[in-house]
Symmetry: C2
Subunit: 186 residues, 2 copies
């Protein structure tokens, strides 16, 4: 029993969940405190620049998630491209809980301080596109076609999440995930 000092990873995940659900302005320090189990003063101890720094931290977590679950997998030569794609899609499905969770890249893109996050958000979209494009090329698509399709996939994922979460119809999201292999098949 090493006491209840919350692990840095758990902390980040709770912040991630709270910003995803409530957005930047909706995620009050009170809500972030309740979600993490840390009092407000303790959150300021870990993130001296307050809420903005917590949101930036979450963006860092998302970037790392994409590096690990999209980019790295897309380049894994030990798997056939088809298997890599399946794995990436499964991870995306899990991240968004089968279409019932918002994308934090989107929820952080709205509000009074949205400008501060634009760069991090854009970078995450770019990485996601890079990953799908890489798989598309390995599946035999010409590079420019693969990139176009990857951009389309990124748009479809974001749009499906908007609709599925807003309407409470997760099938919309799962249906889009099912379309992805066809979009990258020559």
């Amino acid at each position: 029993m090493r006491a209840q000092k919350i692990d840095a990873e758990d902390l980040g995940n709770k912040l991630f969940e709270t910003f995803s659900l409530l957005g930047y302005d909706g995620a009050s320090m009170e809500a972030l405190s309740a979600a993490t189990g840390l009092k407000k003063a303790s959150l300021y101890h870990r993130f001296p620049n307050g809420k903005k720094e917590m949101a930036q931290h979450v963006l860092g977590i998302v970037e790392q998630w994409i590096q690990d679950n999209v980019i790295a997998v897309s380049k894994n030569k030990e798997l056939k491209p088809e298997a890599r794609l399946k794995k990436v899609i499964a991870s995306v499905n899990q991240l968004y809980h089968g279409g019932s969770s918002n994308c934090v890249l989107r929820t952080l893109s709205i509000g009074s301080d949205a400008d501060d996050f634009q760069e991090g958000i854009s970078h995450c979209f770019d990485l996601t596109i890079d990953g799908f494009a890489h798989i598309g090329r390995d599946l035999g698509l010409p590079a420019d076609t693969a990139r176009k399709r990857a951009k389309q996939i990124n748009i479809l994922i974001q749009g499906a999440l908007v609709v599925s979460v807003a309407t409470r119809e997760p099938g919309v999201f799962r249906n889009v995930l099912a379309q992805i292999p066809a979009l990258l098949t020559p």
Copy 2:
């Protein structure tokens, strides 16, 4: 000079713009007051139930916009289906300022009071899908195919807006609009 009593339509449009830009939690009474030119007490005079009622009013405006600019146009027998589609797409492009404005259906779907707006938001998505599906059928698509494509178009529009606004690349949105006719062509 009939004095500066703000017109109900202008008022609604300003509320629409502010909720679109800042989201529900980000659109403070102060911000709504500044945007409309009405003091907070005056806003409460017009909307006794406060911010929630203003957001519901905005959802009503959006529904009416869709009725006028999507549904009605989609059924206008004086125009060929191709011309109707062109008109609808042009209206959508104008509404979102060529991909630089958020969709208020999305910005209102996030935050602490999102549940109150779910029904209105879902209804607006449904109407939009109905409109595109109607045009698809008149263009010669089987009814079920037309509906599937219309749902896809709705997803693409939402996704493209997320990406184009978040990354400041309106081309993403215009590119999606350009794809729509092909999606409804048999």
